[in-house]
Symmetry: C2
């Protein structure tokens, strides 16, 4: 099946990019800023690329309202890379040896916990595994350690479709937030966390660059075994260029930031995201064919998971939705069912088209 036009792509990541961002990248792909060369062909250390890099940091700092006391690093290896990078940089701060606390609300946070076990004690604070990760463990059930270096949590679980409505309150403990799938989707008070990290491939742009926002006073505590490219202190001192950065991905992230600023910033996109999510969940809730199984309070605004009560219709749903120009609605294989990822770059029209298709499919079913 081929399309002449752009369709609506609900992929969980890599995911849809605003059309005007792609158009700008396309227009200047061979000759960027009149330099006679593509932005992807120039040295990362050149004056021209350094200007891109500085602007990317500036725009991200503005969008996320990041205080000056936080460093912004642009790294490689994704969130899963930082699952190792974070303990290597911070776990040594544990009072009685390397240790960190993990709040497990889905497959991603459990993955983070397991990776950290390579570097110290990765203590399980609480888990919603027995509830099929359809909720978040109640605050009073959390078994927080007194000697852990930090508490790690995942603010939005992409697979289960579970999201923290607010940043957890943990007093003066260091909080590490995996915001891979809801970064820039809503306002977050950066001062409440020690580290905020995530890959670009969901709410920002193409895959390849990983953002780490870290409180500056926490730099310089890396274990000896930390690879140079993930040594936050070293990278902070070298403008994240200890190794050759993924320059095109950074440039694309920058175009994404400009687009978001033009939309009115995070506050505006947050309202739009809420509107999109409400539209989809309200439809699902009144349907007799579809159901969402997540505790309503913790439903993700980014990844709406749903099931067809008659699962024998799954294949028909997927093939017909694709034919209708609604791409990538299959749920993660670990969860089954369906999933519509509706990140910042998904226009309201996409969600309207999805709901219309779902309503029509239900009528015909």
């Amino acid at each position: 099946m081929t399309f002449e036009r752009r369709i609506f792509n609900f992929s969980a990541g890599p995911s849809t990019v605003p059309e005007e961002v792609l158009k700008q990248a396309q227009a200047e792909l061979l000759n960027w800023h009149g330099l006679g060369t593509s932005v992807m062909e120039i040295s990362h250390r050149s004056k021209d690329f350094m200007a891109v890099y500085e602007e990317v940091l500036h725009d991200l700092r503005t969008l996320m309202n990041i205080p000056d006391s936080y460093e912004i690093l642009l790294l490689q290896g994704g969130g899963i890379g930082q699952n190792a990078g974070i303990p290597m940089n911070l776990m040594a701060l544990g009072k009685n040896g390397p240790k960190a606390d993990f709040l497990v609300t889905g497959i991603w946070s459990e993955k983070s916990r397991q990776e950290a076990e390579k570097y110290g004690v990765a203590h399980l604070v609480a888990s919603s595994a027995t509830e099929q990760f359809n909720t978040i463990p109640a605050r009073d059930s959390w078994d927080l350690s007194d000697d852990a270096a930090y508490l790690h949590y995942c603010s939005n679980e992409t697979i289960g479709g579970v999201e923290f409505p607010d940043t957890p309150e943990v007093g003066d403990r260091l909080l590490v937030a995996d915001i891979s799938s809801n970064i820039l989707s809503k306002e977050m008070d950066i001062s409440k966390g020690a580290v905020w990290f995530g890959g670009a491939q969901k709410n920002i742009g193409p895959s390849g660059v990983t953002i780490v926002v870290v409180r500056k006073d926490l730099l310089g505590h890396s274990m000896k075994i930390t690879p140079s490219i993930w040594d936050w202190g070293k990278q902070a001192a070298n403008q994240s260029m200890v190794n050759t950065p993924p320059t095109f991905s950074i440039y694309m992230a920058g175009l994404g930031f400009k687009w978001l600023l033009k939309q009115g910033g995070v506050k505006v996109i947050e309202q739009r995201n809420q509107e999109k999510a409400n539209l989809l969940y309200d439809f699902i809730d009144q349907s007799t064919l579809y159901e969402n199984r997540v505790n309503k309070v913790y439903r993700s605004r980014m990844n709406a998971t749903f099931f067809l009560r008659d699962e024998s219709l799954n294949d028909a749903f997927l093939s017909q939705s694709k034919a209708a120009g609604l791409l990538a609605l299959r749920g993660h294989k670990a969860a089954g069912g369906m999933r519509a990822s509706i990140y910042n770059a998904m226009p309201l029209e996409g969600v309207i088209a999805l709901v219309e298709f779902m309503r029509d499919f239900e009528r015909r079913a």
Copy 2:
């Protein structure tokens, strides 16, 4: 200064990409293969992207003539990332504990040696530091260990402009080759090495993806502290998708491989590279203004370093060459002088234009 047309870009990396590769990427940037979406927006696990991935591996295997007994991994973190990744995966094979041998012929191989010290003994076999890295230590001066897991060397030192004419003969020792800056530039007998690795940003495409070619029987020896995304055995079992891969960089590498196949493959490009290098070095050697300081036997065909005997002319040389559409000729700050990186994608016309400019500049000097 702005250019209406494409210029010749001698950047050491990220570096020039063939114009027809950029044109294809541009044409299909918004709607790839009639899918109604960009290749950078689709899931790495989708059927469509997996087809790209398989073709990239197939074409690279063809171009480099990689035997089936070798795995090809597409990772993140660049060569500097693998400076940690390699010891974590192989150093434990040392007979008396983690140990590896390092042949130091420039800044890159010394950097590799220092990073490896985090994981075990990084023994210096020989170094050309006292010769300002202008040569390669004589084979009979190498102090090889009997208990090292492997011998690491850098086949082309990008900064010094020093290249091994052939793969070193090391008997049944495991040889690890950093081919970041001459990968695919000439025929290499893969069976002579245990590991061949390098970033894409010199002879392949944009930065962001790292190629590791490793003998399959060497998988599975990683240290416990190895991050999952660099655990070669784990990545081999997961099609290099333990983490979200840099999909657009992989796609661009694939376009680069297709371009190279169309040129006639590595054998043809090797002749062209030799021709380009000869043209430039022959001119430098007959000049009274320019000089190359590298032992003639070991001059790099990829990175031609040269100095103006009158260094007060450096600034004029750089500004005038840029105005003439010859970009990025400044040498690395650790080496000084000038450097023309003439990778696969640099056409002969670019080197001719450079020599003409240099001749003209010399006449006017």
